[in-house]
């Protein structure tokens, strides 16, 4: 790992490559032009292991498919398994790695087309999406510089689970809480994450509680498979009878990062799992949403999807079927 870090830091502009399912696309489109690539696929980061505190460590180079079908993930963190399998296609999941999933660039037509201005590719030239075709774009946490969305399903479940991203850089190791890993666009839309130059993701650590009894991952999209989310919702509950004792709620396809709302989560703690209560949470969550025309429907869609996901989560039992 340290030699990989050394290799990538010794060449300006060098990038790591693992599954390549996003970077190669970006290179074909001339959006990414790394002069050097450091192949990390043979680093020993390809295991899933139990942690002493009862959690689970997902190696950065384990494929998305192997993670989703791993028995510990299926049994203890089914919401993660569901989220991964809702994403991309079987072929892509077989190639894509866990670390790479976190580092997917944001989804936006203009970002991927170098003939149009884009602040993310070329800071300061302007955002084509804000007044352009923005049906797929963000409704939360946008800035006047960028309204692109993070495309991952996996990350929506990871932020809901309070995962921790472990990284190694030239100054040593550090752990980044998942909610702090991705950034909002602000004035620096070209920077997607808080990873420092040369840092490499080594693992994603899951805490002990996997919310395996009450969870839902609901993905609403334009076709049934191989389509990014218009809105997705990861909902996880701890329940004591009908009463909710803990809530996790995260949305995908709506912001520059997986969108978690802890204030809305807190609204449900200690109260009964009823449709009325879920409606109130749905409304609270979209209170801060802002549409840009084509994507304004996402506000109402997000509200409805939150309610549906919470209803599913409240109902689902460990062995139950789920949306």
């Amino acid at each position: 790992v340290s030699s990989a870090v050394h290799a990538v830091t010794s060449e300006p502009g060098a990038m790591f490559i693992a599954g390549g399912t996003n970077l190669i696309d970006l290179m074909k489109e001339n959006v990414a032009r790394p002069p050097h690539l450091v192949d990390i696929t043979r680093l020993p980061l390809n295991r899933i292991e139990d942690l002493p505190d009862g959690g689970l460590r997902l190696g950065a180079l384990v494929t998305n498919a192997d993670t989703a079908y791993h028995s510990a993930v299926e049994q203890r963190y089914p919401i993660l398994s569901r989220a991964i399998l809702a994403g991309a296609s079987a072929q892509l999941r077989n190639m894509a790695t866990n670390g790479g999933n976190l580092l997917q660039r944001t989804r936006c037509y203009y970002f991927y087309d170098t003939s149009t201005p884009c602040n993310k590719r070329d800071p300061g030239v302007g955002c084509s999406a804000i007044n352009g075709f923005n049906r797929i774009h963000a409704i939360f946490g946008t800035s006047d510089q960028c309204i692109a969305v993070h495309p991952s399903d996996m990350c929506v479940a990871l932020v809901a689970l309070d995962a921790v991203v472990r990284v190694t850089g030239k100054d040593g190791d550090r752990a980044i809480p998942f909610a702090d890993f991705h950034r909002l666009p602000g004035d620096t839309p070209q920077v997607d994450t808080n990873l420092r130059p040369g840092e490499i993701i080594t693992s994603i650590d899951l805490p002990r509680n996997g919310f395996a009894d009450h969870y839902a991952y609901l993905k609403v999209r334009d076709r049934t498979s191989y389509a990014f989310a218009l809105v997705s919702v990861a909902a996880a509950l701890e329940m004591d009878g009908d009463t909710i004792t803990e809530t996790r709620l995260a949305l995908g396809g709506v912001a520059h990062k997986p969108w978690r709302n802890v204030d809305a989560e807190a609204m449900l703690n200690g109260i009964k799992a009823t449709k009325d209560h879920f409606d109130a949470v749905g409304e609270a969550i979209v209170r801060s949403a802002k549409g840009f025309g084509h994507n304004t429907f996402k506000i109402d869609l997000a509200r409805r999807a939150v309610v549906r996901a919470l209803q599913h989560a409240a109902k689902v039992a460990r062995t139950g079927r789920n949306a």
Binding site: Y110, S128, D222, R223, T224, S225, F297, V307
Partner: protein, 701 residues
């Protein structure tokens, strides 16, 4: 003639070659000393190229040439260009000037020792433009719509009959509605590609992705001044085309240009993004006004359409005639116009005209049925036409009544409760809808050759194509029957410009046209063999060729293929997601040559219809005049998970008029009416009438 094979569900004879990778596609031929070309596309919709700077690209070792309008000779004038599928106007030919006519226009070609190098070097070509204002919005440009110059092989829009305006005003019940639909790019799986083999003696052999090898040959001859002996075009396998390969595409021209410049073999493939610069189903606006008496008898039909064309050609399609043809009605006015946009010329895409026109007509019929409180099937039966309502000729055959009957039976139309939102399953709204489909049963001139060998085998050939439709298989069936040979003794060859003349593979006329020629050639060969045997002559190779013209009996009648399409949808009441749970299509196609390939054809058409109804849309950013969702990730076509039960019923017809084989063709009919049936089912499920395709969830939520 026996029919041992015609009518049998023979598996595709080319299937094993395809699934084992033995079937080669245009880009896959190994050619020694080949160079690779990569297209540089424009990033503006309209204007002029001020400067192209290829210095940086040319400095890279291995980059051989950068072709632009500045170093490319002018080719033949527009009037001399041969293209069987062209539209009136000046066809676009790349690198002929500094003018940019549409976004993603090919404006330079980089040739290098490898594909990767060519692609990289292409990214280094710098282009400065003088951009001009562009118009790419159909609605904004509809005010300058005009009646297009007719395309030679299509009849003009039918003249009005009766007084539709008066009848509408006096009607007991009427509807007057507008529908819009987006451009759709056909996006076959195989990208357009050409391998040009430089033969060294000035001659060229091309492996090209096309629906017409002889059309490409004729085109290249007319453009570059070659004779037919100089250019051979082959296309034995085509990975889908759907109309995009009817016209010679620009990669063939550019690949030849590069081969001539370098005196070397060249390969050129378009990228998926560049596929969005090719022909497409046009943007369409339609108005349909219908009126009827209380009993459902139609009084008036008005159908107006505006589609887009390019600045340089008048492309138009047969959108509105279906409304004059399908139902009995005394007062009909049809109007078809186009408007010029700064886009490439649209083109014939699977069921051109009927796809949009029948969609609008059949949705409007559903709206009328709702207004009349009448069952939609009953409304169609009430106005059923036994004759072509435009030219008043009887149909050569028309079993549409039987299609309605079998379709309603199979889908369980009796379960349908008439009010919208009246069929529910929890928070899922269930709806059922139907539509009529129609397509022409053309026959055009074609020829074929049959060589009977002394070992009892036969080689039959014609310069037609198999674009995934099953041509290899059905032609072999027809030939085996005509020759009275076991099918494994017969080999059929196609996709080679040196073979006997064949039309473009399109319009659903390959079986009727090429099939008739194949049969005629085989019958001639067989007759000679029999005569030879009767004379007691020695076994000898018999080589016969036949050309067939449209059957003279076709003048007696109107020849059409009909279908009845039924769809059941399930709509999530809260989230608006739509599942097409079931489609039942009953098709009356004359005679079915091969029920297996026929069924595949119709199923494919239905999947297209699902995409048309719910997913497909080439989205233009009007600021840039550019299609923005130019990838398979963002331009949605149905995936397997979107496709549920599909049921295809064939109502076979004995039709001795349409052509000697009695087969009407199935390439297009499968798609016609499907989008309307789904849209009508969505209305029935939700009570929401979405009149702009595609019906995405935000429109029904």
């Amino acid at each position: 003639v026996t029919t041992a094979y015609i009518g049998q569900p023979i598996s595709r004879l080319d299937g094993p070659a395809k699934v084992t990778g033995k079937a080669k596609y245009a880009f896959e031929y190994d050619v020694p000393n080949v160079a690779y070309a990569y297209v540089v596309s424009s990033s503006i919709a309209r204007g002029r190229i001020k400067r192209i700077d290829a210095t940086a690209a040319l400095q890279i070792p291995g980059v051989l040439q950068v072709l632009t309008h500045e170093n490319t000779a002018r080719v033949a004038p527009a009037g001399e260009i041969v293209d069987d599928a062209r539209s009136p106007g000046a066809p676009f030919i790349p690198l002929q000037g500094d003018e940019v006519l549409f976004n993603h226009q090919p404006i330079a070609l980089v040739v290098a020792e490898s594909f990767e190098l060519a692609r990289y070097a292409a990214s280094l070509v710098r282009i400065d433009y003088d951009a001009a204002d562009h118009a790419t919005d159909l609605k904004a440009a509809s005010g300058r719509a005009y009646v297009p110059k007719p395309r030679g092989f299509l009849p003009p829009t039918p003249k009005p009959r009766g007084d539709a305006a008066k009848a509408l005003a006096a009607a007991a019940v009427h509807i007057d509605v507008e529908y819009t639909s987006p451009a759709e790019h056909p996006n076959p799986m195989e990208p357009f590609a050409t391998t040009v083999v430089w033969e060294g003696d000035g001659k060229l052999t091309l492996y090209d992705k096309t629906q017409g090898v002889q059309n490409v040959q004729g085109y290249l001859c007319s453009v570059f001044g070659y004779s037919k002996d100089d250019v051979r075009v082959l296309s034995p396998f085509v990975g889908g085309a759907f109309g995009a390969g009817l016209r010679p595409q620009y990669q063939a021209f550019l690949a030849v240009l590069a081969a001539r410049a370098l005196k070397r073999s060249v390969k050129l493939s378009l990228t998926r993004q560049q596929m969005f610069s090719l022909h497409y189903r046009p943007f369409a606006w339609q108005r349909v006004a219908l009126s009827a008496a209380q009993d459902g008898k139609l009084d008036a039909i008005v159908h107006e359409a505006i589609t887009n064309t390019s600045r340089f050609e008048d492309y138009s399609e047969q959108i509105v005639p279906w409304s004059g043809l399908l139902y009995q009605c005394e007062n009909v006015r049809l109007d078809n116009r186009v408007t010029k946009l700064d886009l490439n010329t649209p083109g014939d895409v699977r069921a051109p005209g009927a796809s949009w026109g029948v969609y609008a007509l059949e949705c409007a019929m559903d709206e009328l049925a709702v207004a009349l409180r009448m069952d939609p099937v009953d409304l169609r039966l009430k106005n059923y036409a036994d004759r072509d309502q435009i030219d008043r000729r009887a149909f050569s055959s028309k079993s549409l009544r039987e299609c309605y009957r079998l379709g309603t039976e199979r889908i369980g139309w009796g379960r349908r409760t008439s009010n919208p939102r009246s069929m529910r399953d929890g928070n899922t709204l269930v709806g059922m809808g139907m539509a009529t489909g129609a397509w022409d049963a053309f026959q055009v001139p074609a020829s074929a050759r049959c060589v009977l060998n002394t070992d009892g085998t036969a080689t039959v050939s014609s310069a037609t194509e198999d674009i995934g439709t099953g041509t290899y298989t059905v032609m072999t069936q027809i030939a085996a029957d005509a020759l009275g040979l076991p099918i494994d003794r017969v080999t059929f060859k196609l996709g080679d410009s040196e073979l006997p003349e064949a039309p473009l593979e399109g319009g659903s006329f390959t079986v009727s046209s090429v099939g008739s020629a194949v049969r005629a050639a085989c019958e001639k060969a067989r007759a000679r063999m029999v005569a030879n045997e009767q004379r007691g002559g020695k076994a000898t190779v018999i080589d016969e060729q036949a050309s067939t013209m449209p059957s003279p009996r076709r003048k007696e009648a109107s020849c059409c293929c009909h279908s009845a399409v039924f769809a059941e949808v399930r709509v999530d009441e809260d989230l608006g997601t739509i599942q097409v749970a079931r489609v039942v299509t009953a098709v009356a196609p004359g005679r079915v040559i091969n029920p297996r390939t026929a069924r595949s054809q119709v199923m494919g058409g239905i999947v297209w219809g699902i995409g048309m109804a719910l997913e497909e849309e080439s989205v233009i950013d009007q600021t840039f005049g550019r299609i923005m969702n130019h990838s398979f990730g963002e331009y949605h076509v149905p995936v397997n998970a979107d496709v549920h039960d599909i049921d295809v019923i064939f109502v076979e017809e004995q039709d001795e008029i349409v052509n000697p084989l009695g087969a009407k063709g199935l390439g297009e009919i499968g798609v016609v009416g499907v989008a309307a049936a789904i849209a009508n089912a969505v209305f029935h499920a939700t009570g929401k009438r979405v009149r702009d395709l595609p019906i995405t969830l935000d429109k029904v939520m």
